[in-house]
Amino acid sequence: MKFNRLAAAVACAGAFAVGGAHAQISGDVIRIGFITDLSGVYADIDGPAGADAIRMAIADMGGAINGKKIELLVADHQNKPDIAASKAREWFDTQGLDLLIAGTNSGTNLAMAKVAAEKKKPMISIGGGSSRLTNEDCTPYTIHYAYDTVALAQVTGSQIVKNGGKSWYFLTADYAFGTSLQNDATDVIKANGGTVLGAVRHPLAASDFSSFLLQAQSSKAQILGLANAGGDTVNSIKAAKEFGINKTMKIAGLLVFINDVHALGLPTAQGLLVTDSWYWDTNDQTRAWSKRFFEKEKKEPSSLDAADYSATTFYLNAVKAAGTDDGDKVMAEMRKTKVNDFYAKNGSIRTDGLMIHDMYLYEVKPQSESKYPWDYYKLMATVPGDQAFLPESKSVCSLVKKS
């Protein structure tokens, strides 16, 4: 009896929510903000092209939902968390921003997540890699969409050890990102029966990597793990080729984007092992979308460009289904919906905000096997989302109820 009454109440509440939905687009416009690095070191991996990917998603939605226009605001955070946070705050306060998409740089992502949570509006993090976004610093409004450092370490470490790469040596960027990547990967390698023979830490933006590489080589490890990013990774790989290190050791980049491989060229990058969330040349669906992207940008999309598009579409569909752009309601809608598009299959958003989807290990092809421009990767392993990402039971996010 009691149960029935409760059910009736819930049904009533539900009907009311749906009934009032049409009038619930705030300011009569759905406003999306994209804050990323448009001009600095990360500008090539999403940046202006990522903004265009979001514009594509909005255009594909018809530019409006139920007659309410969709608008995009874009800003450059210059890799400064304070600029990112104050821009986000300004847009929430004066522009009635409904969704914040956070581009590259973990520091800025963490700063913006706090603002979005305070304003009770969803933030989808695309380019930030820090696992703190869904652990220590998780919020009910953060969705971490594309990848995180734990998944990179997990996929790279476990798959390579399984394929026989038992002994490792790390070349690590000497700051929080590098050391946490190295520590995460070390745990995975040991858990899978491999060993880590040592590590050398280099300063950020080091001028020359050859000395560090010779130290790595003398360790006689099979695998050289690069726990660094961007220009440091590119210059490490270049020096490794020059000194013939890539003949005695297999190199695994823990954070390498296709743009880095493109910049290096196949003769230098060949044989490199890379973990990513998406590759443009995977199937007909990814190729079809990438073709449209290429026509605009004259380059193939990175995984982040694809995630920008996918996340925008996912959000807009949730707004459509919920009939409102209210932060809480759209978040609830997104949490119960699967991501199913060219970017991810059966992706789902966990309590801590992590979007769980498959991750992939690729090997960079030699020049002789590359048949057309941007034909760079060979798939080595597909790791299902529940194995790639940190298990929910281990998440320290306060939203996850511990039993």
């Binding site: 001009s39 600095g40 070191v41 990360y42 500008a43 090539d44 000497d174 050398v200 830490r201 280099h202 300063p203 950020l204 933006a205 080091a206 001028s207 020359d208 050859s210 000395s211 560090f212 010779l214 130290q215 003398s218 220009g231 590119v234 210059n235 270049k238 020096a239 020059e242 000194f243 013939g244 743009n259 880095d260 493109h262 910049a263 290096l264 060229g265 003769p267 230098t268």
Partner: protein
């Protein structure tokens, strides 16, 4: 195996040699800075940008015009030298009468603009420049495998450094140049066109930076930011050598390369800082630098 401080002697030699390679880049860059400061009194903050433009010039020459490394080695410094001449004629010559800080600010601004333009045009991931065919491969020098290209870099930059030093310190042209910086009016009275000489000197300093850029292109990724990553270290090298001292910049460039190489073995985390630590010590003990004339 014989060891020194727990490091095999062989490995130590290898690291010292690598230090020498990096040191020769420092020497070449700080040489250009020293020439410009010593003769013109300008703290040329655009030096890193000129170095970057030298590397890009090599890449553009190859990519768009099919001009190979060896021609680029001559053409690119020439182009950057012309850029230097234009900058001097348009801007710097108006600043000689002012406080040196104006020259510093101007060149710093120009460097930021140049970086911004290249970043906008070519992106930040950078371009890859392959080692020329003749210098592909590596030689086993007993204690390590030395890539031929790196050996070439050491030889080329030592030759250029010595030639520059010789030109300025030992030739008639050099002595006129030095005289002009001491007393421009007097030298002019002897019929020497001092303004043209000053312009060409800045152009030559810029060309040295351009040459370092071409030499570096096959070793590191050609990116718009490659200059700003290096310029501060190079300034420290110049300060250690003694502002404006030609010989000082060459010797301290090579020495600091070696010290940095050793730091990479014993305490890699400090390898970016060690140059500055030495700079502080030198400034405390000998404020005019190792080779500087005390004021």
């Amino acid at each position: 195996m014989t060891e020194l401080f727990g490091i095999p002697i062989q490995a130590l030699f290898g690291q010292l040699l690598l230090g020498l390679v990096n040191g020769s880049f420092y020497a070449l860059l700080s040489l250009g800075l020293a020439v410009i400061f010593g003769l013109l009194g300008i703290v040329n903050f655009a030096h890193g940008a000129l170095y970057m433009m030298g590397a890009y010039a090599a890449w553009i020459l190859l990519d768009s015009f099919g001009i190979d490394y060896w021609f680029a080695l001559v053409l690119a410094p020439l182009l950057i030298g012309i850029v230097g001449v234009i900058v001097e004629r348009l801007f710097l010559k108006r600043l000689y009468k002012l406080d040196p800080v104006y020259g510093l600010l101007l060149t710093f601004g120009l460097a930021l603009i140049a970086e911004g333009v290249f970043r906008d045009r070519y992106g930040v991931s950078g371009q890859s420049y392959n080692v020329p065919d003749a210098l592909q491969g590596a030689t086993d020098v007993g204690f390590m495998i030395l890539p031929n290209y790196r050996a070439w870099v050491v030889v080329a930059s030592l030759v250029v450094c010595f030639a520059t030093w010789f030109l300025i310190e030992k030739t008639r042209l050099g002595s006129t140049l030095r005289a002009a910086t001491e007393n421009a009016a007097l030298v002019q009275a002897f019929g020497v066109n001092v303004p043209v000489m000053v312009t060409l000197t800045y152009g030559a300093g810029a060309a040295l930076a351009g040459l370092a850029g071409v030499l570096a292109a096959p070793v590191i990724q050609v990116t718009p930011l490659m200059g700003s990553n290096l310029i501060i270290v190079v300034f420290a090298v110049v300060v250690i050598g003694g502002m404006g001292s030609i010989l000082g910049s060459i010797v301290s460039g090579l020495l600091l390369g070696l010290v940095e190489g050793l730091t990479r073995v014993f305490y890699p985390e400090a390898s970016n800082v060690v140059v500055f630590v030495i700079m502080i010590i030198v400034l405390l003990v000998r404020p005019s630098g190792l080779f500087g004339k005390s004021a």
